[in-house]
Symmetry: C2
Subunit: 371 residues, 2 copies
């Protein structure tokens, strides 16, 4: 197939550095041999540094949703009561998944585009002592909102000591998430957002309280069973044939991320988040999220009145080679979303703004007069 040259500004998979993509061309090796053993041990230890955790950590050959399924089947038994903070499409999906897997899910719904309120979490937990675990989406990719996980954890762990399960797919590696300091029992993320690596691997940290929960749950899945993953990791292996090319890519990406330093990475994302927000506002567009909670990895922009959202994204793609994402669920047609995570550059963001400046009037946008 011919891959088009484009400015890929969807909220993941994020574009990858060319040398990371080339690393995948390495020859196959024995996944039960010494080279892979060195690779998985080194990658796991470096991932723990990015997670800022001393918890166990596993690399799964699956998309991020696979790691989310692992977070649930390894901690919850059918009928267990769960509180899910839902701030958008991915929070809803995490809750749906828990329900599908047999949990009794209480949904704490927040208006899409706003952040989860820690006080509402407190009230919900006060009212329902039977809750075993709380599900939180750290960065809600569908609305461009970063939830205040630190404050939520202060309630969930500090006040109620419930299990805290975190979807960090579009946050970890991009914005601060010190897993141990914030007492997150289980944190799931994936390769294709902050990790400069293509999709196909996911990562999950699993702490002592999660292991304790697992004791009483027993074995509920096979592919996502973390006790098996632990047994194999001890001998430098995965239970099932791992995605070797992505391990090669991750190996290089982790070196780069750690050499750059976490603080520098967070600062980069904050810089680009602000650049995007300022850019779209300067064009006369408005943001879905309040700036205080706006995400530094993905920005949701309201489709202006009189503009067809689909026509706008199509014009950007076909006439300017810029690919952005539409809205999901109830936000379909009402917003478009710009990804700015991973190896994004200033030229790419400028290019996107230039494209918007031309495409918007062409699809009927009339900016209000500005001073």
């Amino acid at each position: 197939m011919k891959i088009p040259k484009q400015n890929l500004r969807i909220p993941g998979p994020a574009p990858c550095p060319p040398d990371v993509l080339e690393a995948m061309s390495g020859a196959m090796i024995n996944h039960r041999g010494p080279e892979f053993k060195a690779l998985i041990h080194s990658a796991t230890e470096r991932l723990k540094r990015v997670f800022m955790t001393a918890n166990d950590l596993y690399i799964l050959t699956a998309s991020g949703t696979g790691a989310l399924e692992a977070s649930l089947v390894n901690t919850l038994a059918p009928g267990d009561k769960v509180l899910a903070a839902v701030t958008g499409s991915f929070g809803k999906r995490y809750a749906d998944m828990a329900e599908t897997l047999g949990a009794e899910v209480r949904r704490l719904e927040f208006e899409w585009g706003t952040a989860a309120d820690p006080l509402a979490v407190r009230t919900a937990l006060e009212g329902d002592p039977g809750v075993k675990a709380v599900l939180v989406t750290h960065n809600e990719t569908s609305t461009g909102v970063t939830n205040d996980l630190e404050a939520i954890s202060a309630v969930v762990k500090g006040e109620f000591n419930k299990l805290l399960l975190v979807d960090a797919i579009s946050s970890l590696g991009c914005v601060p998430l010190p897993v141990d300091e914030w007492r997150c029992d289980v944190v799931a993320t994936a390769s294709q957002k902050g990790f400069l690596t293509p999709p196909g691997l996911s990562f999950i940290s699993f702490g002592p309280a999660a292991w304790e929960a697992r004791q009483s749950v027993g074995v509920r899945g096979f592919y996502f069973d973390l006790a098996t993953a632990q047994t194999y990791l001890e001998r430098g292996q995965t239970p099932f044939t791992p995605n070797l090319p992505l391990f090669y890519a991750l190996d290089l990406s982790l070196d780069r991320l750690l050499a750059q330093g976490q603080e520098e990475t967070y600062a980069r994302h904050a810089y680009f988040g602000e650049m995007v927000r300022d850019g779209v506002k300067a064009l006369g567009l408005s943001l879905l999220a309040d700036e205080a909670t706006a995400s530094n990895t993905v920005t949701a922009v309201r489709v202006p009145d009189g503009v067809d959202g689909k026509a706008l994204t199509e014009a950007l793609r076909t006439e300017h080679g810029v690919v952005v994402a539409g809205g999901l669920g109830p936000l379909e047609g009402r917003i478009f979303r710009i990804g700015h995570m991973g190896a994004v550059t200033e030229a790419e963001i400028t290019g996107l703004m230039d494209a918007l400046r031309v495409a918007l009037p062409a699809v009927g946008f009339k900016a209000a007069a500005r001073p």
Copy 2:
């Protein structure tokens, strides 16, 4: 990491053609955009040709075991009775998996190194009308035996009309498996054996009787739910972010496999299977499996008396750059296994035999005098 240059003769991941590995360096694209839609539709249709099936077929971002889990969670409810033909480590694992996922599993055990006897399957089904599904490992990678799936299907489908679930991970694409002609309801395989592609994708065909079974089963998993996969495939997508680089690689591999032709591929594997068997016998070694049932993708060789199997595989690896696999479970130390699937060449097999000729005496092997 530095990848050693070696003759990788494990039974998968099989070495991949260099241009297939290079195809993975393609830039990321929108997995919800038109390029991916064209890619997944084309890859799915071409996979159906390799499977020789008109059944539905899905590409999962997971190792082969993920597709096996999908074969079970989409057809079996907890408590459903299953007959598992166990001829080795992977047959045992498929049975274990069904048990873990709640099925009542009756194991029909055959001596490891022999094939499943269709008559024994008939007797078992006669004796237990409550059986809903039969699990068969087409090619038992742990013993180098190809089970007679056609004859087993004649019993399972032709006489009893039970669901037939097939693990074809180390057979499909290498040896004949006409899915529809042999009436296999569900067939699971993976990218890293016959498909000339690295590990990380798996493929599953799912026929009408399997869909009928699914109706009564409901939704038992999230990541491996094939009804969701179907909904997304209709719009040219996967439910969760797919492994794009492996889709690029598969795209190229499928072109190559179909251009070569299935019959030619089977003939190649038969040729190399015989070459390996003849080669090890000429060295004075003996095969685990009877030649009538010996696999054309992997050969299990008995470790000769007086030889330490681990010392032999270590000598091959460290002194000759040849990597073979050891035995699994009860066969550990008693056999070693040679993979000869996918893009194997004559020079690689000759190189392996040359290495064995030197390494064997060095680890204490004394060949019996031959005429």
